[in-house]
Symmetry: C2
């Protein structure tokens, strides 16, 4: 396996990863909703306007999936990531409306090695995703497992 850029040892508290921007068109919102979350405000512009969300808006889970793609392209793709045990908190602060372009960053809050698996550590991130009007649409605190590059040599 090719050497990965980001192993557990490479993350430092306070480090910030800028994530690539991603456009969310209406047809992708409707496609995701049709499969997973066919509530009217995720399927139809008029129903969206009549809802609390104020327009055709992405399912919150679609926003999460788009954010995941941004994080994958941003740094996880070239990392030793082994997945995540969950989210300590996640807030959908505002709806993602059809045609929005999202940007985001992930900040390292803390890191620790696992006692049970000496070759794995947990890095906890704070993720923030914003729309092109500068409004936060999602934030979350999220631990992710990474393999160590040199389990024997590092502390």
């Amino acid at each position: 396996m090719a050497e990965k850029r980001w192993a557990f040892e490479d993350f430092q508290e306070g480090q910030v990863f800028q994530l690539p921007r991603r456009h969310v068109p209406a047809d992708e919102i409707i496609e995701f909703a049709s499969e997973f979350d066919a509530q009217p405000m995720h399927m139809d512009e008029e129903a969206g306007r009549a809802s609390l969300l104020g327009g055709l808006a992405a399912s919150g889970w679609h926003t999460c999936a788009v954010f995941m793609r941004m994080m994958f392209d941003g740094f996880l793709r070239d990392s030793t990531s082994q997945g995540s045990p969950g989210l300590n908190e996640l807030r959908w602060r505002r709806p993602v409306l059809a045609g929005d372009t999202l940007s985001g960053h992930s900040t390292v809050l803390s890191k620790r090695r696992l006692k049970s698996k000496p070759d794995v550590g947990l890095v906890t991130f704070r993720h923030v995703v914003a729309n092109d009007r500068g409004e936060t649409v999602l934030d979350a605190e999220n631990p992710i497992f990474f393999r160590l590059r040199e389990p024997e040599g590092s502390q």
Copy 2:
């Protein structure tokens, strides 16, 4: 708009909604991952076996999306849902492996009306999703907004 079965007034603390079962085949895992989370353990059986997850495993976000579909089919489809502000906590307890069939239930923890919007209330659920070996794969605490049926008449 047709009358919905589940408006804010209809939820009671302790109420349990059983969700329909849902199969998660390998091709759907790979399709979701290709679009949103192309980490090797979500794309390839061999890479999955070499990872902490132990086999070709759904992205945690895919598990969330499948759960959302189960909840939509279970009761949200026929409700006054207006979306959700987020998750107080979410845990991916075990990987969802290719071929697993998921079941789940949502329990009402609490409910309250919004001061800022008299026609809307917030119902907080505890969701639990399990595989066909009886193991919990996901649990989460999740508030959801619902419109009231009769904002004037109810407390």
